[in-house]
């Protein structure tokens, strides 16, 4: 038996250039952060927040996707299980970066920080960040352990445990992610509040986390991994993007519409600034990129099953997610629509860390889980 050889073959080998690329991207990020820090530190901290939150959302969305697959015992996605697992490899980096941001940047980002309200004050704020990040890291680590153990020992015990802890995870995720989005994003406009805010951010994370999984899977397929990927998988992937983009615009519009209808000044101020001349174009671009494009593009059945169309849609959505978070952070923070080299550079810096973390995590285990009970169903998946 040469099973060890095939196991090695099914592992992702990090192309040597890719590590160099991620280091260069990180360098670009650091240079842009330093270059802008002297003139406008608030803008730099705003960008740190945007990028941090961006990649945390990708990790949250991707792991939620995986949890849903486990809870529903979905067969079709069994062979892609390692992709959200690899994305969750970014979580320790995210935790460290977020804690650095919380400890050094809170006073620059959040204007409530000098005050001592019972909820929004610096010690409790940092404690919550530690709890949220710790809880997510704990559950992601646990899932990863079950998944890797399943490769080694086989059987059903790891599969059952993974399903049980996925259920626990989504219940833990609901309050922690809601409060995290209130803490990190909504508290920037601290006199404004929206009770639908958490679900908008959660759906956005789910949508874009799925886009990240799809993009990584299809890039790997183009590199020769996942030879079993067929058009039925592609159709299922595009159904996720299609459905979630509708869901996203549904909650997005609900918030906008209720505030518009209610017409209470302390609520409308949020949208008054965002639909002002300076922000109007980005405001509309956000909806067009995150909803109109995937909705109209993926509606056609033939496009929905096309691999390049899906790659394009995923990339567009991942750009759209940055825009979505940018629109939630910057108007309330600096008030200036300052998209430029610093924004781009700092995003690339974080992207470098993300690529480094995800590829490292991906290379540590088989790219296709060897003993997943639904693996065969996944290989033979057909459209129904």
């Amino acid at each position: 038996m040469n099973s060890s050889v095939t196991m090695d073959d099914s592992r992702f080998k990090i192309p040597p250039k890719l590590t160099a690329v991620s280091v260069i991207l990180l360098g670009i990020g650091i240079v842009s952060a330093i270059s802008g820090f002297a003139s406008d530190p608030v803008r730099i901290w705003g960008n740190v927040l945007i990028c941090n939150y961006y990649f945390i959302c990708l990790v949250i969305g991707a792991t939620f996707f995986a949890a849903i697959q486990r809870i529903t015992q979905a067969g079709w996605s069994a062979m892609f299980e390692r992709i959200p697992g690899a994305i969750s490899g970014y979580m320790p980096f995210a935790a460290v970066l977020t804690l650095l941001m919380v400890f050094f940047g809170t006073h620059s980002i959040y204007h409530w920080s000098p005050h001592k309200a019972w909820y929004l004050n610096f010690p409790f704020f940092s404690l919550r960040a530690v709890i949220f990040l710790g809880a997510w890291q704990f559950f992601m680590r646990l899932q990863r352990k079950f998944s890797v153990n399943e490769d080694k020992v086989g059987g059903l015990q790891n599969f059952k445990k993974a399903e049980f802890y996925s259920r626990v995870y989504i219940f833990v995720l609901a309050p922690t992610f809601s409060l995290a989005s209130f803490d990190w994003i909504m508290s920037i406009d601290s006199h404004w509040f929206s009770t639908i805010f958490a679900i908008i951010n959660f759906v956005s994370a789910f949508l874009h986390g799925s886009a990240a999984i799809i993009l990584i899977t299809l890039i790997l397929h183009k590199m020769g991994y996942f030879p079993q990927l067929n058009s039925a998988h592609l159709h299922d992937f595009s159904k996720y993007l299609f459905m979630l983009s509708i869901m996203w615009v549904y909650v997005w519009f609900s918030q906008y519409f209720l505030i518009w209808y209610g017409n209470i000044p302390e609520e409308t101020i949020y949208y008054v600034s965002r639909t002002s001349r300076e922000w109007n174009a980005t405001f509309l671009a956000n909806v067009i990129i995150n909803w109109c494009f995937p909705f109209l593009f993926l509606m056609n059945n033939r496009v929905a099953g096309n691999i390049n169309a899906l790659i394009v849609t995923s990339v567009v959505l991942l750009v759209g997610m940055w825009l979505d978070i940018y629109m939630q952070v910057m108007p309330g923070l600096t008030g200036k629509n300052s998209f430029g080299m610093i924004e781009l550079g700092m995003f690339l810096g974080f992207l470098g860390i993300f690529i480094f973390a995800v590829t490292r995590s991906l290379s540590k285990a088989n790219i296709i889980p060897a003993n997943h009970p639904y693996l065969n169903e996944s290989f033979l998946h057909k459209a129904h």
Binding site: F253, Y256, F257, W260, Y261, N263, M299, N301, K382, A383, H384
Partner: protein, 180 residues
């Protein structure tokens, strides 16, 4: 379009989905034409093998778009042109249209698609269905081949043999079967 005719049909009953698909593939290779297939649940491969396509999704799309336009025109005419009323100082043409347009898009899309489907399939409430085989709502799969006037006795024997060689568990005759 469906055609009901008075010709007798040869009906082959199968026990498993695999046997049915296999039989369809083999009958396609022969000179006989499948008139209809009945299964307890939709089987994607049957649509695929029989080359069945539908334009209903396109129709549904145009119904929905038509509904959006129609409702927008109605709202615009009533609350902007004919009888504008200022409510809370909101503009006459306003986002409040969107919810109504959204709901009516769904309503038009669904109701008109349903009406089209029922018309094309000649379905109506209270229609008495032709029972091809009493187990097709349970666990049996059925292929129907029409016994046309042009067929000789030898053809009929050949069809029977074809069914038997493809694991049909039962063969019968039936009138009034609709073609696909």
């Amino acid at each position: 379009m469906l055609k009901t005719d008075t010709n007798e049909n040869i009906v082959g009953v199968f026990d498993t989905e695999e046997a049915l698909i296999n039989a369809i593939k083999n009958i396609k290779k022969s000179s006989f034409k499948i008139k209809n297939v009945f299964t307890p649940y939709p089987i994607h491969e049957v649509f695929h093998e029989l080359g069945l396509t539908t334009r209903l999704p396109w129709l549904a799309f145009f119904y929905a778009v038509g509904g959006t336009i129609l409702v927008f025109a109605f709202l615009y005419w009533t609350s902007v042109i004919d009888y504008p009323i200022s409510i809370g100082g909101k503009p006459d043409l306003s986002p409040s249209f969107i919810i109504v347009m959204f709901v009516m898009t769904i309503l038009f899309g669904i109701v008109l698609s349903l009406v089209t489907f029922f018309t094309v399939q000649r379905l109506y409430p209270g229609k008495v269905p032709v029972i091809i085989h009493e187990d097709i709502v349970d666990d049996k799969y059925v292929i129907v081949i029409e016994k046309s006037n042009a067929m000789t006795e030898r053809d009929v024997v050949a069809i029977n043999k074809l069914f038997v060689s493809n694991m049909a568990i039962e063969i019968g005759l039936k009138n009034d079967v609709e073609a696909i």
